[in-house]
């Protein structure tokens, strides 16, 4: 509990928080409430009139094969970005966290992809995988007897490549946080384990990994938000949701329905469904973080 360090200033604290609260209410809370409201309506072709339709927008979504497909695509994409990305980053951070010369240099050499935007990552990976001219299709063709890496028509391949690009871009961020977390693991504990004869592998899984759980949980949540939303630019540049609907993740579908097909009712319903999913994840994140942090201290 925070004490009152400057008693007698009754209005000052309100003035101090007013700007933040005003921004949050005007640009976040009110639009969100409106979005929920709009999800129960449908607008006529020219947007001149809105009609209350109850849960029909939601019913339509849940019975739509397109929406099911988008959910599955998002889950596959996110699982890839989160699982592959986090395990690679943890391994690299662990390697970086040794007493070696030039650590500062290695750190910056391994984390700088954090500064790249998803759109930049998408553009560069589009170049690398460009059919006929890119370096990767060339190498693949050389290695696998002329195999044509055609992700412009092969949906599964497209999803894999887009997920790999997104994972690559996020490595830097994940390494930064894992490294910070690893540096908070007390060395004496690991030393004690070594004296007791525990192998490095065992010490890592029994001591380091559990103590990292606040960091891991935080990164799980951040990477989920990243793979759900921030990858929009990467998808828009590389595949625009295609080929077919192979990379049409939820946020891309939402953008299409809301801003290209102008179906505001359906888009608002999609927004609300996404909100529910994030809220559940956020609550779990908060629970785990506060519970684990206590004994990790």
């Amino acid at each position: 509990m925070q004490e009152d360090r400057f008693p007698g200033h009754r209005y000052l604290p309100y003035i101090l928080i007013l700007p933040s609260v005003a921004i949050i209410v005007i640009f976040l809370v009110v639009p969100f409430v409106q979005s929920v409201h709009q999800s129960f309506f449908t607008s006529t072709a020219f947007g001149t009139r809105t009609i209350f339709v109850g849960l029909r927008n939601y019913m339509r979504l849940f019975s739509s094969p397109d929406y099911h497909r988008s959910i599955v695509t998002t889950l596959v994409f996110s699982a890839f970005v989160i699982l592959i990305g986090l395990s690679m980053s943890l391994a690299i951070a662990h390697l970086l966290n040794q007493r070696i010369r030039g650590r500062g240099f290695y750190q910056i050499a391994l984390i700088w992809t954090y500064a790249l935007s998803p759109a930049v990552a998408g553009t560069i990976w589009a170049l690398m995988f460009a059919p006929a001219t890119g370096i990767v299709p060339y190498i693949v063709a050389k290695l696998f007897g002329g195999y044509v890496l055609n992700w412009m028509t092969n949906g599964k391949l497209a999803l894999l490549i887009v997920a790999a690009a997104a994972t690559w871009k996020m490595l830097g961020y994940n390494i930064v946080f894992f490294l910070a977390g690893l540096q908070n693991v007390p060395g004496e504990l690991l030393e004690a384990a070594r004296v007791d004869g525990a192998s490095g592998w065992l010490a890592f899984w029994r001591i380091t990994f559990p103590m990292l759980s606040p960091t891991t949980t935080f990164l799980l949540f951040v990477n989920m938000l990243y793979s759900f939303f921030q990858v929009f630019g990467l998808i828009d540049i590389m595949t625009r949701g295609g080929p077919g609907d192979a990379t049409n993740i939820l946020v891309y579908k939402l953008y299409r329905d809301g801003f290209l097909y102008l179906n505001s009712g359906s888009a608002s319903a999609q927004s609300f469904i996404i909100f529910i999913v994030i809220s559940i994840a956020a609550v779990i994140q908060l629970r785990v973080a506060t519970r684990k942090a206590v004994y990790a201290r």
């Binding site: 200033h9 639009p31 390697l95 040794q98 540049i237």
Partner: protein
């Protein structure tokens, strides 16, 4: 001892290899940005730099009004990072130094906003901009970003560690809370401010979906959308050399900021996740 040395060399080797693998896409992009159109389409792909970098940059610059986009991105990223830092400092000061009615409701409310990213409120936020006549303006690009949950949390955590003696001494001296805030609290938050600046600048510079929606004129687009524009309309034979020149420019400012402030950034992150 011998095995110790051997593992150490292995670690160096592994780290260098990893750094190169991670850097490869960007190195390849850099090389492509120096080639002519024909060279960019040579088979096998060319890995030797050419001398066309400047021409390609000029070309990209002219094709999508890149200079203006660059200015737009710089303005919104600097202003948003700055405003976010100021608002977060003020809010964190209130939450840690004062006891006031409603604090126990207001603080969680500022945190709940983490659950309200743009996509869950995108249509009404857009409609709000339209009703303010803010489409194609800096206001639309910046205002919805001004509140920073990350910032409030970061500064709050730091302010809670500031010894009470410091504020007591100030109070006894008759220093007003705002003077204490400006002359003591803000200066000792330097590292955190720098760390947050890096985070928020990079975050804002990378924004794509919102600028795509609230701007549609050549003058109000941002660098990220410039990349989309460079790629557009060339589905059959993209001018990769020109596109990569644009990409190199697009990734430079955040990289420079990260490298310049890397120390404070790393310290700030360590402080934050140490709790």
């Amino acid at each position: 001892m011998v095995t110790r040395n051997r593992t150490r060399i292995l670690i160096h080797f592994a780290l260098i290899a990893l750094a190169l693998v991670i850097a490869f896409p960007v190195i390849y992009a850099l090389i492509t940005s120096t080639l002519t159109f024909q060279q960019a389409y040579s088979y096998p792909p060319r890995l030797i730099p050419g001398n066309q970098l400047w021409n390609n940059i000029v070309n990209a610059w002219q094709r999508v009004n890149f200079g203006r986009l660059f200015i737009n991105s710089t303005i919104i990223s600097v202003v948003v990072a700055f405003v976010k830092i100021v608002l977060a400092l003020l809010a964190a000061f209130a939450y840690t130094h004062f006891r006031f009615r409603g604090r126990s409701i207001l603080f969680p409310m500022t945190m709940v906003t983490q659950m309200l990213p743009l996509p869950v409120r995108i249509l009404p936020t857009y409609q709000l901009m339209a009703s303010f006549h803010w489409i194609n303006s800096y206001y639309a690009l910046m205002f919805p970003y001004f509140a920073s949950t990350t910032g409030i949390l970061l500064f709050r955590q730091f302010f809670m560690t500031v010894p009470r003696d410091l504020s007591d001494a100030a109070r006894v001296d008759g220093t007003s809370p705002m003077r204490y805030f400006l002359q003591i609290l803000v200066p000792i938050s330097k590292t955190n401010i720098a760390a947050l600046f890096v985070i928020e600048f990079i975050f804002m510079w990378s924004q794509y979906l919102w600028p795509l929606i609230v701007t549609n004129t050549a003058n109000m687009r941002v660098v990220q959308i410039g990349l989309k524009m460079l790629l557009a309309g060339e589905q059959n034979a993209p001018q990769w050399n020109v596109i990569m020149a644009g990409t190199v420019i697009a990734m430079l400012p955040p990289l420079v900021i990260l490298i310049l402030f890397r120390k404070s950034f790393a310290e700030g992150i360590a402080m934050h996740s140490g709790k």
